[in-house]
């Protein structure tokens, strides 16, 4: 592996070495995109135009897109090689978050379905 292609050091989350003007431009782009996505979320939740059961999916997509915008434009996470450590930590965090949320919902819905209704359980205990 050719060492000269690797940047001198890793970059920390929240900074990408851009100057004040480039930094301001990135914050402005991020802010604009975040506002548009937020407005779209609130619109999707309150309009009757979208087929009802599709609304939560639309909201999830918009929220994930907005989190991506925040990560890229505010927290300055990039896919460059100097960001590998940050990306790996982020990937592990996303894995755990997915396992906790999806796992809890999955297990609890099965418990809910397989559990005896509470009034029947009380009758058995008598």
């Amino acid at each position: 592996m050719d060492d000269s292609n690797i940047s001198a050091q890793d970059s920390a989350p929240g900074e990408d070495g851009s100057d004040t003007f480039a930094g301001l431009t990135k914050y402005l782009i991020g802010f604009g995109l975040a506002i548009m996505l937020t407005a779209a979320s609130f619109w999707a939740a309150s309009t009757g135009l979208i087929y009802g059961p599709a609304v939560p999916i639309a909201l999830s997509v918009l929220a994930i897109a907005q989190m991506g915008v925040h990560l890229v434009f505010f927290l300055r996470i990039t896919t460059a090689s100097d960001n590998t450590n940050n990306i790996l930590a982020l990937a592990f965090g996303i894995l755990i978050v997915t396992l906790v949320i999806a796992g809890s919902l999955w297990i609890m819905s099965h418990l809910d379905r397989n559990m005896m209704p509470i009034d029947q359980m009380i009758q058995i205990q008598r």
């Binding site: 050091q9 890793d10 900074e15 979320s41 609304v55 925040h70 978050v97 906790v100 949320i101 809890s104």
Partner: protein
Amino acid sequence: MSAAAIPAHPASGGPAPVRIVVSFGFWVFLLSDIVMFSALFAAYAVLHNHTAGGPTGRQLFNLTHVAIETACLLFSSFTCGILTLCAEARSKIGTYLAAAATLVLGASFLGIEITEFAGMVARGAGPSRSAFLSAFFTLVGTHGLHVTAGMIWLVVMLAQIATRGFRPATMRRLRCFALFWHALDIVWVALFTVVYLMGMG
């Protein structure tokens, strides 16, 4: 490897600068904080229909207030970015103004949230009313506590800048604060989507 080659290629060995290590460590802390929030989100998602005959989210939530809260937090994330830029440029006036804007927006967010909570408790919809409300108050309240902690942190940072100027150690703490504040906004995106928008739908 010759001794002269080492300073030319810092990546080939040796510890990273403190600035990088501190920010990366704080990044790992933020991710673990988000993992904690994911547990609260999971609890809320499991319990959100268990209202025990009490009020549902649709009866309690006010989307206009949530929209104002979201705007406050989003705009404060932007002013926090300006704060970072001003501090990097070593501009004290700019830093103070951006910090003041961030603090005012954060305080407005907290004010609306506390009013909302107080109103719900006054209507008999406190955290002890149902499993849904317990999960709601824990999740949203934890985020509110984080915002409070962030505001206290920012005030401490301002005091350090005022008394000691932009020292390297102060700049590292300021960068960590900026990461913390931006991460709180990410949690709020998930929060207003899952709790408020899906709760109203």
